[in-house]
């Protein structure tokens, strides 16, 4: 197919639209939220609730994840007009989640609660009604999630943040920098140290898990 210079093909136009559209969609929804459109916020909620829950669940042990997730979205809705679009909506939302998690962890330390590790160990996985065929796999998955969470709870808070945002949720360095307020250079160095610390602590469970599944 011969293209005239300066005229993108239909495929290129569609590709460009798909790359740009997700960001535009969030911005449009945010603007509608700012005008009081709750239905627009519902779309954002459904789009990001699993991500926020996943981050909060791994950052704060115990049974706080559900309440904290709701609190993140309450604050996001109340402050939606303060979102200026200088970062992705996802990064802005996770910044709220990160700040709430840090506050909650500080309160837990102040309350002289059990160590975070003990709370993570005590937490029991729940068994959802699954078929017998899936039960074994489900139990193994729950156990693995629990072990990962236990090990994360043993790490310093900033290491945990780096791992959760980069390795578990695959956010970019720029987004992590915006969420945590650190420079990208600091993000890089902390992430590396976090990975080494996690590897050292998780190695025994990792070996056992993969021996169990016969890797």
């Amino acid at each position: 197919m011969v293209l005239a210079i300066g005229t993108p093909s239909e495929a290129t136009q569609e590709l460009a639209f798909n790359m740009v559209a997700p960001l535009d969609e969030d911005l449009l929804l945010v603007r509608r939220c700012g005008d009081g459109d709750a239905a627009a916020f519902e779309k954002l909620y459904h789009k990001y609730v699993r991500l926020v829950y996943s981050v909060v669940y791994r950052m704060v042990p115990g049974e706080e994840a559900h309440d904290l997730t709701q609190e993140v979205f309450i604050r996001a809705f109340k402050n939606i007009r303060s979102f200026r679009g200088d970062s992705s909506f996802r990064a802005w939302l996770l910044r709220i989640a990160h700040n709430l998690c840090c506050n909650r962890l500080r309160d837990m330390k102040r309350e002289k609660a059990d160590s975070l590790e003990e709370m993570a160990e005590r937490e029991n996985g729940s068994y959802e009604p699954v078929s017998d065929d899936d039960l074994q796999a489900h139990v193994e998955r729950e156990e693995l999630q629990r072990k990962v969470r236990e090990v994360l709870a043993r790490l310093p808070e900033d290491y945990r943040t780096m791992l959760v945002l980069r390795d578990f949720e695959q956010l970019s360095y720029e987004e992590i920098s915006h969420i945590t307020g650190l420079t990208i250079a600091n993000v890089k160095s902390r992430l590396h140290r976090a990975r080494l610390a996690f590897k050292r602590l998780f190695e025994p469970y990792y070996q056992a898990y993969y021996q169990g599944v016969g890797e």
Partner: protein, 133 residues
């Protein structure tokens, strides 16, 4: 590049965050240093493990729980600003009153204990003395 310099950059290599020059230097070192290459492989293995791990799922329907909260906030935001301010002021005043009442109760209790040392205790001591005459 020395081994310690290479190992500091392994995460950046995994995340493709190196400059072309650094990338070339690291690749050259990893081809020649078995220890660093092993370290790189192990670190990469853990990073891949974390990336492929399933995200935890909420155990309840979060939207069903959130919907009434959102409705309440929307309803509150529709209240005129002056009325909302008055409502918040009333809430603040009632909380302040509760605080003052609680404070007064604590002060009263403390005063009771302190005064009992000077009034009740001497009387008890007096009863304890043998009768005169």
């Amino acid at each position: 590049m020395r081994c310690d310099e290479v190992q500091e950059r392994l995460s950046a290599l995994i995340d493709e965050q190196l400059s072309p020059q650094e990338y070339e230097q690291l690749q050259h070192h990893l081809h020649t240093c078995e220890a660093c290459f092993r370290e790189y492989q192990e670190l990469r293995r853990f990073v891949e493990f974390c990336r492929q791990l399933e995200a935890p799922e909420p155990k309840i329907d979060l939207w069903r729980e959130f919907q009434p909260m959102l409705a309440e906030i929307v309803a509150e935001q529709k209240i005129p600003f002056a009325q909302r301010l008055r409502r918040q002021w009333n809430r603040l005043v009632s909380q302040l009153c509760y605080g003052i009442i609680l404070f007064l109760q604590v002060v009263t209790y403390q005063l009771t204990i302190t005064l009992s040392r000077y009034i009740v205790e001497p009387e008890r001591a007096a009863y304890g003395r043998p009768a005169q005459g």
